[in-house]
């Protein structure tokens, strides 16, 4: 579990980060309902998570109608953490009041031809713009960078390293967009449009305390395996221990190949050790050819350790306590919760309990296809940003 404290809390005052959620089917009605609650005229920016069930073009137009001149960023999701807890098929939004926040965003497109020099230059100008924009908020200013990326782009590692490098001291936190475990199309929303093959970074500035976090509910077990054949570009593992990957993984976890699916992947995630710590490398899918597709970078010769679940509730409780203390009272937690965590929680029939904890601790967010924490792209974590009162 990695947590990071930014500056210490500023004076408590009463302009809370606003949230709203809607599950109205009609995009126009949904957007109107959402922004009626948020009062866009007094906001510095909006971060929204949208179920991929919506007709995104219509929704984008409706959002634009409601938020002329406002910075709105977001992405498609595989489930949302709404003000009323864990849900699916909603549009959930977070509004940053202009009295205490500024939000400056930029995006990168055509990620396969990503030019890291250009990207760094644009991130640096974004940092500068955020500095200029937040000049009126007071001192000291705390910042965090929210990162959203097309969850099927397979470019997260490259992006996080590049972007975090250019952000300097500003910590990056974010998630990969989802499409409800369909793995067909995932989008980010920026500049009035839902976009594929794109990523965005948005700097939140405020005098409020901010703290990013990245706990995972897993610990390494005893079983280890070696990837013997893989395609790192497509995150495809063909062989593990010189056996077809899906069959070997199924054998080691004690299930049959046809039982392989999110629930198995969620409860027994492979982990890699790096820098003295174990990180989950989640499996996205078992393919008909017997290979496994991962949510994150893998390579031949990588040693995987099968992970085991920990006490989710206890882990969350200690996390929330720590965050509360860290920011001097939580106003809002923006959560990027791995979609496999949701699966794992469901399997343990803890959904209601976890959902209540999220409500109680003011968590709003979405279920990701991967989380970004500083320069890392990780899986099966509950990462996020805690904002103090």
């Amino acid at each position: 579990m990695g947590c990071m404290t930014l500056n210490h809390p500023a004076a408590t005052d009463d302009a809370p980060v606003r949230t709203a959620s809607t599950s109205i089917d009609d995009p126009v009605e949904a957007a109107r309902h959402l922004f009626r609650t948020l009062d866009p005229t007094t906001l510095a920016g909006v971060l929204l998570f949208c179920s991929s069930r919506y007709r995104l073009d219509e929704l984008a137009a409706a959002i634009n109608d409601c938020t002329v001149g406002l910075t709105v960023i977001g992405c498609t999701s595989s489930g949302e953490i709404t003000p009323d807890g864990i849900a699916e098929g909603t549009i959930t939004a977070i509004g940053f009041p202009a009295s205490h926040f500024t939000l400056n965003a930029t995006r990168f497109e055509d990620l396969d031809n990503f030019d890291d020099d250009d990207a760094q230059a644009s991130v640096r100008s974004l940092v500068a713009a955020a500095g200029e924009a937040s000049r009126g908020l007071g001192e000291p200013i705390n910042r965090a960078a929210i990162f959203l990326v097309d969850g099927l782009s397979h470019r997260e590692e490259m992006l996080t390293v590049t972007v975090q490098d250019a952000l300097g001291d500003i910590p990056l936190i974010g998630g990969s967009s989802g499409d409800g475990l369909v793995f067909r199309e995932t989008f980010i929303f920026h500049d009035g449009q839902f976009r594929r093959d794109a990523a965005l970074v948005a700097i939140v500035s405020s005098t409020r305390a901010m703290k990013i976090f990245r706990p995972q509910h897993y610990q390494p077990g005893a079983i280890k395996m070696v990837i013997t054949d893989a395609d790192p570009v497509d995150r495809l593992v063909r062989e593990i221990n010189a056996e077809p990957a899906a069959a070997e993984y199924a054998r080691l976890t004690g299930v049959t190949v046809d039982q392989l699916g999110p629930s198995v992947f969620a409860s027994r995630p492979p982990m890699v050790r790096a820098g003295g710590e174990y990180y989950v490398r989640s499996i996205q899918s078992a393919n008909p050819d017997g290979s496994l597709t991962f949510y994150c970078a893998i390579d031949e010769g990588v040693v995987l350790t099968l992970g085991e679940g920990r006490d989710i509730i206890a882990g969350l409780e200690s996390l929330f306590d720590e965050l509360d203390a860290g920011v001097g009272g939580v106003d809002r937690i923006i959560g990027f919760d791995c979609v496999l965590n949701k699966v794992e929680v469901e399997q343990h029939q803890l959904t209601r309990k976890v959902s209540n904890m999220y409500i109680q601790h003011h968590v709003t967010g979405f279920n990701t296809y991967g989380e970004q924490f500083r320069a890392l792209h990780v899986n099966q974590t509950f990462s996020g940003l805690a904002i103090g009162k």
Partner: protein, 522 residues
Amino acid sequence: MATRAPDLNGERIAALENENRKLRRINTALMDRVERSTDLQGNAFSLFETAISLEGKVRERTVDLERAFQQLGQSNAALGIAKETADDAQLRLRDAIESINEGFAIFDADDRLVLCNQTYLGIWPKIADRIVPGVSFAQITEMIREDGTTLGAMVAPDRWVSERMAQRMIAGGGHVHALADGRWIQINELRTTEGGIVGVYTDITEVKAADARARARELAEKSAILQATLDTIPQGVCVYDAERRLVAWNDPLLSVIGLPVTGIAMVTTHAGLVASCTRLNGPMQADDPLGWLEAHAPEAVSLRFHDSGKIVEVRRAPMPGGGMVMSFDDITVSLAAAETLKEANETLERRVEERTSDIAAVNTQLHQEITERLSVEAALRDAKTAAEQANISKTRFLAAASHDLLQPLNAARLFVAALSDRRLALPTRALVRQTGSALDSVEDLLRRCSKFRGWMRGASSSVRSISRSMNCCKICAPNLRRLRENARWNCGSRKPGNGCIPICDCCGASCRISSRTGCVTH
């Protein structure tokens, strides 16, 4: 069994071989991985690993660099905003100067054009396309000179350029330039704080035209007033211009110089005037009273004697720009009047002289009479002095005599009074009373003698006041009247104004009587 053993062995061998193959594969993969781990490659997993293992170290090293980059970015952002602000200001300035009606041009400290509006360019349509920011004022002036856009540049190009540059150096206001196309431009220039010059070019053609109209109207009015004034003057007045042509005259002119009423055609030139005057009024005198005066010659006054006997005073004055003003005054009548006056004066003087001599004779006679009268007066005065002297002596005598008589008389009365207070037989008392009466009569006589002495009146009023306030002893009281009489006499004759001190015989106390204050102490 023998066959099964080799089978078992074969299976085992096969399993082991498979295991061996897998292990070799794993081995190869791991070795490959280990070898590649130090390669510099951009593989996503190695990026992930790098991110983890090197993050701390790299971050430490690059944090300063990043901070520098950030500061740079910050400066750029600030610069961007500043530029935006400057651009906005520039735009606003441009809009502002475009919105004004005047031509407007700003030049920097090197006198190069920074900004100008369309109106400014419109003043120089021929060279407008060459007036761009960066062009110096001298270059623009040169272009104007070449094109002759202003009248000055057309007529005397070099002089216009040097004058314009001189105006520019001063950067003052209000030079007016006539453009070749008939427009008039007023140029106001002002130094900016940075040492440049702001020029405002106002099209004053309309104003100029209005001015000209106003001036013409004023001139016409003045001309009318002048003519009216001229016509009211009894003298004849005419004005010739430098070409000696008649430009103005008044109604009395012709009659004064002896020309018929229709004769104005004869005097339309100065030569015509001289000719017709000579023809109609006789030859000109030697001093040429109607002659032409060149400019700056002194004003001339001369007399022109007509054959008819008419005398005209001619005043001539040259005009500053050439030309001459002449005025003619018929002074025949006034000269005759002056002559008559002179004769009357002479007669008067003669009569005054005659009278003066008469008066002198009478005067001498009077002097003689006065002398005689003075001697008579002196004789009279001597006579009067002698009479007065005699009068004073008589008065002194009378006063002394009266006083000397009164003293014993008073004493006698005092005694008579004392006697009457005594017991007396009736016949005796009658005698005493008669004695008193006799004394009264004497006193009365004396008083009448002294009546002319005016001072007595003032003294008696002082003494009368004593009788009211005087406190006397019982002894003296009955004789108060006597006492009073004595006091009156003493005070009156000897010491007027001072108190006198008679002694009261009965009590021996002194009794002071002040004739002035009326106070008596006892």
